[in-house]
Amino acid sequence: MTWSLFFVQALNGLQYGVLLFLLAAGLTLVFGIMNFVNLAHGSFYMLGAYLGAAVYSASGSFVLAGVAAVTGALVIGVAIERTTLIAFYARDHLYQVLATVGLILFFNETARILWGSSAIYMRAPQAFTGAISLMGILYPSYRFLVIAVGLAVAVGLYVLIHHTRIGMLTRAGATNLRLVSVLGINIRLLNTALFGLGAALAGLAGLMAAPILAVQPGMGDNIIVTVLLVIVVGGIGSIRGAFFGALIVGLVDTIGRVYLPILLSHLTERDSADAAGSALASMLIYLFMAVVLAVRPQGLFPMPR
């Protein structure tokens, strides 16, 4: 019983971690090139979820919903980058933060105008409504799909970064941007491509999360703070750090939320243990971050410079 609970929670943690990775990948890639962090990245996630849910309920096709979520986030992302964010690359971090905060407020309110404030619930696709039995433990097959998609994206990004020309330029740009641009590479274009890729992955994350979580305005804000934490813990700019950081944070958060109240109930009475346990669990990943930074301020897997 306890082992099966742990196993299920570990899978939940893995699934959450994979979602975090889909969001962290794009942010950290753009940071490597442009030294810029787009706090409005969560808006692409929200957009993907809304577009996916809308297209899925209209057409009934999950594949079509996926195409809509990914291309929608891609198009909006590239448009925002080209028209607005490009003006802030040379500016101080302070103004970058401010500009992207303005974008978040705008996107959240636009979603509220278009789709209302109350949450929308999306069903999992027909083929993935059941559960899969694994060593006698039942686990929803849709969550397996999320894990599979996330791991496939991770493998794809690994190949892209380590075995293609674009990946080579990305790595070179993160090491010495000026040198790469002097060699005749259009850095702006490369950055736009990476930004678009990141937005598309965020849209994909939104679609995959839609059947599990509630689709509502501001859904991107809470998760983006966790994603920032993932990036800081993993080492800013490092895609490997984003991957392992996301999995660690996903597992620590999920398992802590389940086991801390249980653990505390051995020490004190039931009610106060529940209250203290849930309060402590919500702080757990932040305390984890504090410990990591106290030991390694540059993160667990910093970029080689």
């Binding site: 705008f106 105008i113 106290a294």
Partner: protein, 326 residues
Amino acid sequence: MLLFPESISPRSPRFIAVAALLVVLAIVPPIAANAGGPFYVTLALRILVFALAAASLNLLLGYAGLVSFGHALYLGIGAYVVAILSFHGVTNGWLHLGVALALSAIIAFLTGLVCLRTSGIAFIMITLAFAQMFFFLATSLKYYGGDDGLAVARRSDFEPLFSIQSNTGLYYVTVVVLVATLYLSWRLVHSRLGRVLRGASSNVRRMEALGFPVLRYRLAAYVMAGCVCGFAGLLLGNLARFASPAYMAWTVSGDLIVMIILGGVATIVGPLIGAIVYVILETIIAAYTQHWMVVLGPIILLVALFAKRGIYGSFLAWERRIDFAR
């Protein structure tokens, strides 16, 4: 000891503008009582409380170059101290103040130890993460209202010395606290501490090579800014008679940054000017449409794009220009 850290002629535009501003602040309650009642006093109080919070953040963000994106945390701390203590029947204002300042100092010290080890964008993210941590902590305190927040049964008791039970009383106390804070921060930025912070903001390595323990100076500033903002939180809790996790939301931290940039980064009076303009703007837009954020978002974007000096900063630059022309 000189009263002013800089020499300012009483005929300079700066002196006249600030004196006029102080006069306006002093006469708001009687004028509001004639013009349309308590709404305007409440609005002015909101402005002053946010100006105090923004001024404390400006010490970090403007002078020390430390872009904290989680400063609203201390607003929440101050408000929750008032609400929780009065929930348990403790209404002594001096006790509220002592606990709010001590708690703000402890939290700022502990989080500062971690945050200040990083710099640049990582610092922004970590300060945001810590504020979010306390936000979630507040929402999980079911005993104290959780998500819904906690009402303040009775405002902090400072009798017999003075009373903040009426809005007018609270207003004048807030004005005194704000003016004292602005004066002290003016002295601070011209003190040794202020000069080290400004030096480290432009070149950390040089300051360290000169033998200054930069981390220690920054931590001192971080704790001071946290305490002042905790004070602002105490005033906010008394003003709203309420403490809510929403006071610690990242959007509030963002609001404070907007006020500073609007008014003028690294100027003493700038945060006050920024708070006046921003809160009034917000109130006006909110009166026209329920979806005011759809208008405010792009305005913030434009502020970030164009407001390089801010309102008061541009005023100072204009003053310098006419000074040269003479």
